[in-house]
């Protein structure tokens, strides 16, 4: 009897627990599985382009990049960003629980069901959705994309997105209403602040996607909703009203992780906290005003207005970078794996950010839009940036979540391989884009001379795959042969390190006094003062 009861209890704990830590861990595992699946699609795409179109048919290729992009955005980066918030925001603000635990659990199941709906398109006779992760009308209407793959995609994306809105509501309420005594808004840790602005963008921006997809669904079934050119423009305006905030939803939480990691491993207080918070809020506000820079080449909206708001982003972004560098200034640095990934984020995201300023200029965008230059740009932000920030967070917080340290030497191997693979894969795309290679093509004429760089990129993607395998091996080795972490292995600053690893069901047995955004650092400094 026991043999059945134990796994059954483990399963119900994982799948039906209302503990925010279990929900978040399960969500991270689900997102990681989707990451592996989406990564496999990317490897297939890279094989196709290295072999110059010899691996899959054009229609299949369209399905591959549609599902790759949709998976990575809707099922990996956005959910994992919010899931890390679900885990750590209650801990960082000293709360015993997340606000709305059952709602958060519902969000997990919406992610699982939505993702499975999207992927089940591959099992239908017409194949999976093939109208790109934007699913833009009229290509996605019932005439140009018949079949149930597209239907399942619409349903799945809506479900996963609805779950993300619910999660954002839970995290936002926790940060605003469940803070421990003494934890004022301006003492919330950097990561919690990035999650607050992230959730604000989710709550304000994501409903536009539900609306766009709802209209698209109605158009497919009843017609007369998204009519002609106006319908196409309306759909994209709605989509990008979601689509630009989502870009920063895939960015801010990782900025927060990098901020925590830099401060901890510089052994000093995060620099410029209040300026950073103001910059985040300005960034989030501006993010709601820039959407049509994705539509410069339509020529039907005011390009200059959107160029203005987009270029203005360099002010808050510049402040964030200033604070990061100033945190290292006069710090005592410890080059852990988490710290290396944070540095990787700083350097590589900068490439993505600076090329973003270039694309925000319409005369340049007219020449580069829809080309591989754009593909390189957003992979430098989302993969070379956010994914590196995520790994910084994983190496930093894995000991807290599991009670076990990850291996540093395997971690550093993972880091070196991933830096190499990322830059070899994505940097040549800038060159190909400027030379005129359009995105989303399954083949290209040999006379273009693009095959050499494409082969190089594909080799790079294999190195990325290898680095992910090293990471998985690291997790397995570390969980098998455990090196116990203790409460605070890093000498960190924030409340999640003031409890056991992993934390108990209700997070804390006792809380230290909270007098700043770095309460544990305050304690250490007070002790040192006494000793002196």
């Amino acid at each position: 009897m026991n043999a059945v009861a134990v796994p059954a209890r483990a399963a119900s704990r994982t799948l039906a627990s209302t503990d925010h830590k279990r929900i978040a861990s399960a969500a991270c595992m689900v997102a990681f599985l989707f990451f592996l699946a989406g990564g496999l699609l990317a490897l297939l795409m890279r094989s196709q382009l290295a072999a110059d179109g010899g691996v899959v048919s054009q229609q299949t290729y369209n399905e591959l990049f549609t599902m790759h992009g949709s998976t990575m955005v809707y099922l990996v980066i956005v959910p994992v960003a919010l899931a890390v918030g679900l885990y750590f925001v209650p801990l960082q603000v000293g709360a015993a629980e997340i606000a709305g635990p059952r709602v958060a659990l519902a969000g997990l199941w919406m992610l699982v069901c939505g993702g499975m709906a999207m992927w089940s398109g591959f099992l239908t006779s017409g194949g999976a959705a093939a109208a790109s992760w934007w699913g833009f009308d009229p290509l996605s209407d019932s005439i140009h994309s018949p079949g149930s793959g597209m239907e399942l995609w619409i349903f799945g994306v809506m479900l996963a997105t609805l779950g993300q809105i619910l999660w954002a509501g839970c995290i936002l309420s926790t940060a605003l209403r469940r803070r421990a005594p003494g934890m004022t808004l301006m003492r919330m840790p950097v990561f919690t602040w990035t999650m607050v602005v992230t959730c604000l963008m989710v709550v304000f921006g994501f409903p536009a996607l539900l609306l766009a997809l709802g209209l698209l669904w109605a158009q497919r079934h009843f017609g007369g909703v998204l009519v002609g050119g106006a319908g196409a423009v309306d759909y994209q305006a709605l989509f990008w009203f979601y689509g630009h905030p989502v870009v920063y939803v895939m960015f801010f939480p990782f900025v927060g992780m990098v901020g925590e990691v830099l401060a901890t491993f510089s052994s000093r207080r995060f620099f410029g906290y209040s300026a950073f918070v103001v910059a985040l809020l300005a960034f989030a506000g501006l993010s709601m005003t820039v959407w049509a820079h994705h539509m410069f080449t339509f020529g039907v909206l005011s390009n200059k207005y959107f160029a203005l708001t987009s270029t203005a982003l360099i002010v808050p972004a510049g402040i964030e970078y200033f604070d990061f560098l100033a945190t290292l200034w006069r710090g005592s640095l410890r080059f852990t794996t988490a710290f290396l990934f944070a540095l990787g984020f700083l350097v590589q995201f900068l490439v993505g950010g600076l090329t973003g300023v270039i694309l925000a200029s319409p005369p340049l965008d007219y020449g580069l839009n829809m080309s591989y230059f754009v593909v390189a740009h957003f992979h430098y932000t989302i993969f070379a940036g956010s994914a590196f920030g995520l790994f910084a967070g994983i190496y930093y917080w894995f000991p807290k979540i599991t009670g076990t340290m990850l291996r540093e030497r395997l971690g550093k191997l993972h880091f070196v391989l991933m830096v190499l693979g990322t830059n070899v894969t994505f940097f040549p795309m800038f060159i190909l884009g400027a030379e005129g290679m359009t995105r989303r093509i399954a083949r290209y004429p040999a006379s273009t001379g693009w095959q050499g760089l494409n082969i190089l990129e594909t080799a790079g993607s294999a190195v990325i795959a290898l680095s992910v395998l090293v990471f998985m091996a690291n997790m397995l080795v570390s969980l098998r042969d455990r090196h116990p972490a203790g409460d605070d292995p890093w000498g960190a600053h924030t409340l999640e390190w003031a409890t056991s690893s992993p934390p108990p069901r209700h997070n804390f047995r006792a809380l230290p006094a909270i007098r700043s955004y770095a309460p544990l650092l305050d304690l250490r400094e007070a002790r040192e003062d006494v000793n002196v």
């Binding site: 054009q58 229609q59 093939a130 390009n303 160029a307 510049g318 005592s332 200029s361 020449g367 005129g436």
Partner: protein, 211 residues
Amino acid sequence: MGNTLHAYEHVQDVYLPIAVGVFVVVVGTLLVLLARGGRRKVPGGRSQALVLEAVYAGALALVAAFLLWVTFTAETPIDRTAAHPGFRIRVIAAQWSWRFVYPDGVSVADVDTWHPTPAYVPTGTEVEFAGSSEDVIHGFWVPELHYQRQLVPGYTTRFDLLFQKPGYYGGECSVLCGEDHSEMHFALEAVSLQRFRGWLAREASRQELAS
């Protein structure tokens, strides 16, 4: 005069050196901080400098203003269409073909091909294109001129292009438009106005004979 090539190169000549410069300065600063911070045993330093950050934010705003000034002055002429263009050509995109229609009925069509038949255009004068799509959104992209516009069904998209140098200009559909998106190429052959008129007259009589 709407010279897209010139506008692109002008803006790029300002933006690219600034971007490279910022990258070098940030990475250089980072390396110095890492070298010094790796040796330091006791951390120190202040954790706030609001006045400095406010001045820095002001400087960033000035940089943004300068970039926008460069962008706007370059964009205005290329967004404008000439009142009296040297020539008007209709471009009709469809899954998966391009059709170029000239005022006197001459047309050039490229269907699903990597080896398009060039449509002729005159050099040295603005050519107005009136683009439209028959089904989904397509993208009219001439990489050598650094210019593209999306052709949205139901809209007529007007834009001017200037071909300064004679020669072959390849073009592609830049917006995903379905299964054969990769095959949707077109080509423009820029020739002197005189040769262009000759080609147009020959095509007119040839196409009349054919019909």
